[in-house]
Assembly symmetry: C2
Homo-oligomer: 215 residues x 2
Amino acid sequence: MPSRLTISSFSILGLLAIQPWTAYELTKQAERSLRFAWPKSERLLYSEPKKLVEHGLATAHREVSGQRSRRVYTITDDGRTALTAWMATSPQPPVLEAEALLRLLFAENGSTDDLIAALDTMADDAAELYDQVMTINTSYLDGHHPFPQRTHLSVLFATFQLELFDLIVKWVEFAKTEISTWSTTEGLGLTDGTEAILNSIKERRSVLDPPNKNP
Amino acid sequence: MPSRLTISSFSILGLLAIQPWTAYELTKQAERSLRFAWPKSERLLYSEPKKLVEHGLATAHREVSGQRSRRVYTITDDGRTALTAWMATSPQPPVLEAEALLRLLFAENGSTDDLIAALDTMADDAAELYDQVMTINTSYLDGHHPFPQRTHLSVLFATFQLELFDLIVKWVEFAKTEISTWSTTEGLGLTDGTEAILNSIKERRSVLDPPNKNP
DNA sequence: TGACTTTACTGCAATTCGCAGTAAGGTGAC
DNA sequence: GTCACCTTACTGCGAATTGCAGTAAAGTCA
């Protein structure tokens, strides 16, 4: 009666399908890829492979070097079968967690400066993440991919992250110009700016597209 | 020794700052707003207000109607103070959870059809979420906001969601045209398309911008 | 008046997280 | 050559969160 397989289990199984790893190596690898699609705690990355072994989807063997031993996990045939079966199932809807947006939702409880600071932090974080993805990916052009045969997947995956982080940076810029027209955070209601946004929303136009240019 | 306050606690406190609610009402309200920035289980929305009471940030009073009673939670002055203090702190980085992107990362373990199906599901989910946000927000134009004085916040908040869901839909379109050039999911490595993407990434150009038009 | 939905919760087991702790091996500086 | 610090390689535990099932009254519609 091992505990049941979760999406996190399959995300580890997916890594094991590439090559055998130790749990420690899995945490490092997760930081380069998994974290952008399925962010999980380091702790879980140590317990999930054990669960996979219990289910017979992976095996663990100890490698010894000096006084120290490491447990290397390898995917089994059953593991590959289970992974392939999972690939054919329907994925859960995407979910975003953004504390800075909570601050916007409750902005009336703080100053406009508080709000702008929160949004700036989100933009800085996004810019930093953008750079991280860029660093990893531009090196692929020089043939520096640890798994060259996977470049088509890594790069297409990265495009989403870059678009997302770019969107965040650009949206914060837009939001700040809008907020700059506010005298306070509280009780403004339907301002001219808000009405303009609502009209552009109604026509399904992006609020970012025309960056304050006249037609 | 009540358990400590989390971001989730403050997200509930933020709702209580608008007006008193029952836990049940909080779950309904969370579905309209909180869920897009701080998605939490319904269960938690029942326990968090209790924690706020333990901390003295809210009070609970029973209202009786017939045989049934409901517990209405009201923010205290301490609660408002704590909320305002929280608004001035730095938010955590944004985080995205997208199982469909995991499928892309591990696509070599399934067929191109599996991959396209997963991406289509994500696009459909995003389109559905887009519609939900649209429905809530276009009604504001007719003056149908439950808290008219908060329209400026709700609408600016909504613009982010719309941009995000639109990005997902558009990126999936792009990803699918790229994938359509693949004969298999496995071992392709640096294809022509991948190289083109990498070059465009290098120049920080969006892969979505010019939708296959010549300059 | 019977069936079904909405309102209004609680209990509990399973899952996940954050943090602290342990310990060996490697690296560079003085 | 030894001290400090970083990396590798984990485990334990309490706290936070989830998912699911269960309870029950009130409202709705036919």
